[in-house]
Amino acid sequence: MSLVSEVQPDLAVASEPGRSKWLKDKGRVFRDLWMGGVLLALIVGFGLYTPAFFSRASWLNTSNTALEVLLVAVGETFVICTAGIDLSVGANLGFSAMVGAWVMSHWFTVGPGNDVGIVVVGIVATLVAAGFIGALNGVLVAWGRIPAFVVTLGTLGIATGFGLLLNNGQEISSIPSSIARVGNLNVLAGWIPVPVAIGAAITIFAGFVLAKTRFGAYTLSIGDSTEAVVRSGINEKKHLFKVYLVAGLLAGVAGLVVMGRLGAASPTSGSTDNLNAIAAVVIGGTSLFGGRGTVLGTVFGTGIIAVLLTGLIVVNVPPFWQEVAVGVVLIAAVYIDSLRTNQGRKRALFAR
C-alpha cells in the first residue's frame, strides 16, 4: 500500500528525471521555435534590405515556390519518420502531371466550353499515376525488403523516363484552361493563391495525423524500433506501404499544383524538389534515423528554403548562390541538431 502511494507518478519521485524531462520538453519546443526564429530572421533581414520583399508579388512567388516543395516535403516527413527515404517524389511529381495531362489531351477534345468533366478525369489520372509510384515503392520496401534508398532511386529513374516518354520529352499544354485559371486564382484581396490555401489545409491535416493519431504513432514507432512494433502485433509492412503511398499521392497533388501554375505539364518539373524537400524535412528537425519528427518543423524548413530562394533573387544575388545557401543551411541545421541530441545522449548515459 505504502509502496503504491510512494510511487504516485505525478509526484515525480526523483527530481533528476523530472528536471531532465523539463529540459527535454523545453528542448523539443525550442527546436521548433528556433527554426521558426531563423525563418523570421530571414524574412525580416530580406525585408529590411529591400522592402520589395514584402510586396504582394514577392509573397505570391515565395508561397508558390514553398507550396510545391512543402507538399512533397510533408509526404517525405512521414517517410523519413519511419527511418526510410523517398527519392522518387520529385520525379513522381513530373511523371504524374504528365500522365494527367496526357489523359486529358488524348482522351478528350480540349476546347472552349464546359470542361469540368475533363478536369476531374485529369485530376484522378494524376493521382492514380502518383499513387501507383508510391504503392510500388511501398510494396518493394515493405514486402520486397529492398532498402528504401535503392527502391526509390529506381523509381526515380522509372518515373523520370516514363514522364519523358509520354510526349517525347516535350511538355503537354493542350489541357483545359480552367486548370491554369484556378491554379493562378488569388483570393483574400489577392494575397492567398487557391492552391496555397488547399496546400495549407492538407499540411495542417497531415500535422495532426502525425502528432495526434494512431497512424502517426505507428509511423514514429516504426522508425524508432521496427522490432518493438512487430512484437506489438502491428502489421508494420502494411503501415510502411501506406506511408509510401501517401508520399506518392502528395507528390501527385504537388504535380497538380505545378500544372495549375504553368497551365501545362512538364516532364522535368519537380526534378529539383527532391533534394529541397529532403533538406526541408531535415532542417525542420526530423531525424533521418527515424522516430522523431514534426510537420511544423517541415513547414519551417520549407519556409527557410523558399525564403532563401526568392530572397536571394530579390536582393539581386546571382541565382547560382541559391543552391549554395540551401546546402550550407542544411549542414548547419543538422550539425546543431546533432549537438543537441548528443548532449541528450550523454545526459541519459550519466543518469544511468
Binding site: K24, D224, S232
Partner: protein, 279 residues
C-alpha cells in the same frame, strides 16, 4: 518426511485446480542436434516457475517454442488443459502468453505511454475521431499511470522517453506492459541480468505483484539469488532434458548449482516422475 509428503499432496491438488500451462514430452531438434528431449513441465496460475540451466541447456529454445517463435519437433503444449499450437508469436500472444525478451522491444524515443499502448492505442469515441484514429492521449496516460502504479513500478513520469529511463525502469515498463495485456502466462528471459542490485530488487518485487494478479510466470535466469527470491519452484534443464524439478523446500543455492552443473545427478525418479506428472 510428513511435511514433504504434505507439500507433494498440496502440489498435486493445485495441479488439478489451476494448471495454467503445461508442456508434455516436448522435443526440438535442429538436424541431428537435440536441443530439447521430452521436456515436461507445468506452471500454475499465480506461480513463478524458475527455468534454470547452463548455457545450451535448452532454456531459450523452450522459451521460443512457448512464445510461438519456433515450432516444436514433437510433444504438445496445454493451455488451461487444452492442447494449443502457436504457428506465430502473434498466435501465442492472442492465446494469452506474453514474452519479455532481453532486448525488451521498447521504442527508445517514444514516451512511456506510447510504449505501454503500442498496438493497442485508445482512440477517441467521437465517430470522426474513430475514423481518423485520433488518439485519446489523456485516457491512455491515465490508464498507464494507473497500471504502473498498481504494479508498484517506479517510473516517475510517463511522458519520459523510454531512453531516458534507467535500465531497471525500462525492464519494469516492458514487464508491466506484458503483464497488463496478458491474462494467463508471462515468459521472462533474464529480466534481472543487466541490472544493479537495487533495480534487481524492484524488478523482483514487480514479478511478485504480477504473480499475485494470478498470472503464471516463467522466469529464466542465471542469477540463483533471484530464482530463490522470487520462484515457487524451479525446473533445472541440462543438455535439453529436465534433470530436476525443485519444490519450494528444495529451492536452495546448493541444489540449484548442483543440478545445473551436474554435480548432483538426477535420479531416474525425477525424470519418470516428470513424465507421469504431465499425463
Amino acid at each position: 518426511m510428513i511435511t514433504h509428503e504434505a507439500t507433494l499432496l498440496r502440489d498435486e491438488q493445485e495441479t488439478v485446480m489451476a494448471q495454467r500451462l503445461a508442456v508434455v514430452d516436448l522435443s526440438k531438434h535442429y538436424g541431428g542436434v537435440h536441443a530439447l528431449r521430452n521436456v515436461s513441465l507445468e506452471v500454475h496460475a499465480g506461480e513463478v516457475l524458475g527455468l534454470v540451466g547452463d548455457n545450451g541447456a535448452g532454456k531459450s529454445t523452450l522459451l521460443k517454442i512457448l512464445a510461438g517463435a519456433q515450432p516444436p519437433s514433437g510433444g504438445s503444449i496445454l493451455l488451461d488443459g487444452e492442447e494449443v499450437t502457436f504457428p506465430t508469436p502473434h498466435a501465442a500472444k492472442e492465446a494469452g502468453i506474453a514474452t519479455v525478451y532481453q532486448d525488451l522491444a521498447l521504442a527508445g524515443q517514444r514516451d512511456v505511454v506510447s510504449n505501454f499502448f503500442m498496438g493497442r492505442e485508445i482512440t477517441s469515441k467521437h465517430p470522426l475521431g474513430r475514423v481518423l484514429g485520433w488518439l485519446d492521449k489523456r485516457a491512455m496516460r491515465e490508464h498507464t499511470v494507473r497500471e504502473l502504479a498498481r504494479l508498484g513500478t517506479r517510473i516517475p513520469d510517463v511522458s519520459l522517453a523510454a531512453n531516458d529511463l534507467s535500465g531497471g525502469q525500462r525492464q519494469a515498463l516492458a514487464i508491466a506492459r506484458a503483464a497488463a495485456w496478458t491474462s494467463k502466462v508471462l515468459l521472462l528471459d533474464e529480466p534481472t541480468s543487466a541490472l544493479g542490485v537495487e533495480q534487481q530488487a524492484h524488478v523482483l518485487e514487480l514479478i511478485k505483484r504480477v504473480k499475485e494478479e494470478g498470472i503464471a510466470v516463467v522466469f529464466i535466469s542465471h542469477q540463483m539469488q533471484d530464482v530463490m527470491a522470487v520462484c515457487d519452484r524451479a525446473v533445472v534443464l541440462r543438455l535439453g532434458k529436465v534433470v530436476k524439478t525443485l519444490g519450494p523446500t528444495e529451492l536452495t543455492g546448493e541444489n540449484l548449482v548442483g543440478y545445473i552443473t551436474g554435480a548432483k545427478l538426477s535420479d531416474d525418479d525425477g525424470l519418470t516422475g516428470q513424465a507421469q506428472g504431465g499425463r
